[in-house]
Amino acid sequence: MDYGRRVLADRLAAEYVLGTLRGPARRRFEALLAAHPVLRDAVAQWQQRLQPLAAGIEPVEPPPRAWQRIESSLFPSAPEPASEPWWRRLGVWRVFSGLATAAVVALLVVGQQTQPPQAPIVVVLGANPEVAQQVQARFVASLSADGRALVLRPIDAPPLTAQQALELWAVPPTGAPRSLGLVKADAATTLLHTQLLKDTAAFAVSVEPAGGSPTGAPTGPIVSLGKLQI
């Protein structure tokens, strides 16, 4: 980006954050943000610069109904005993997961009985739409039909610092994701495992501290995910 465009980008970012960039220009700028890290950085810096101005604003207690409305719009059913975790919110495969599980079971049974040569299973892990504005990460996972080997290839790997690593997860239809271990951002990773397909509805990649998630559950943003379709 040459100097003139950089100055323009910074000016638009400042006006966007201040709020004076309006109407179609604001919409156009937001559309550009998704694709331009330089603009996103400029916006983040302006947000940080102007944040102290918000300090003097008196807090105003919202009425209790505000929280009730938020809850009922996000969690329309009866309140669940436990919190609803992200892997169920993803929802895209909720409808399919039962089917997929059934198909996997059928496949395993058939596989054990007749042992025909099976084509590998390919799962495309697309960018997680919830973080696609910040990170566009895509992977392709190729699994052997017996579910014992997986090769994960990065298509668009997210930028990582030295303190970060990528971790691959098998997401079951219900319950917590299982870690399949750390994977490389810049090259294919081969994983050998006894039961990669059992109880797996999807695969997901998260950004974790170097060394992997300290808790055994994903702690960083889920950057990429793909549903298992058999």
Partner: protein, 207 residues
């Protein structure tokens, strides 16, 4: 919703956001209790219509629930991230409110020009005007010097745009100045703030 007010430390808020990103509803409730009064205050400044402001608040927290997984504590302070979502939501709500007849609070203009009826409707009389808010913000050491360096006109423009969400042309109408003049005041004010804050940060870092 018992204990209130955003006294939570940034580190606590970052932890809460990380848990919200994983779908932790208890953490979401705690985050709401710690931050909603502040964000509602921010929204009401920009869109004083209480009904619309409540709609905006709902959108903000739905948005927070859905995008907390993308919050990166290494890149942004939690309160900065939340305030930005709130201000964006409030500014967008102004665009939607087509039938809006919105005269601006007039603490900045000379008293005789003030339209008391409109003023009373929108801003309770004991509430600070935008310029007062800016001066209050400037009590913080890190920005005081930089806000103080702006001209009176620049301070008015920044305060009206930031606190009330006015567009360039609305600021111009409000101050009865040509649009081009207001645009250039604002542009220079933002550049001056940026340079001054960068110098202050460099000095603080050099110490």
């Amino acid at each position: 919703m018992a204990s209130r007010h955003s006294t939570a430390e940034p580190a606590d808020l970052a932890t809460l956001l990380a848990r919200v990103g994983l779908g932790d509803r208890a953490a979401f409730g705690t985050l709401y209790r710690a931050t909603s009064a502040h964000l509602f205050g921010v929204v009401l400044r920009i869109n004083p219509d209480r009904g619309q402001a409540e709609d905006v608040l709902q959108e903000i927290y739905v948005n927070v629930w859905r995008s907390a997984g993308g919050f990166d504590a290494a890149r942004a302070q939690p309160m900065t991230w939340l305030t930005s979502i709130a201000r964006n939501g409030a500014i967008d709500s102004l665009r939607r409110a087509k039938a809006r007849v919105r005269t601006v609070s007039t603490h900045l203009v000379s008293e005789e020009e003030g339209d008391e009826a409109d003023l009373a409707e929108q801003v309770p009389s004991d509430e600070a005007g935008p310029l007062e808010l800016l001066q209050r913000a400037a009590e913080r050491r890190d920005v005081a010097h930089c806000v103080g360096q702006l001209s009176a006109e620049q301070q008015q423009c920044v305060a009206l745009a930031y606190y009330q969400g006015l567009s360039h042309s609305e600021v111009a109408d409000h101050l009865a100045q040509p649009l081009g003049t207001v645009k250039s005041w604002l542009r220079r004010a933002l550049l001056a703030l940026k340079d001054c804050l960068a110098r202050a940060a460099a000095q603080a870092g050099g110490r």
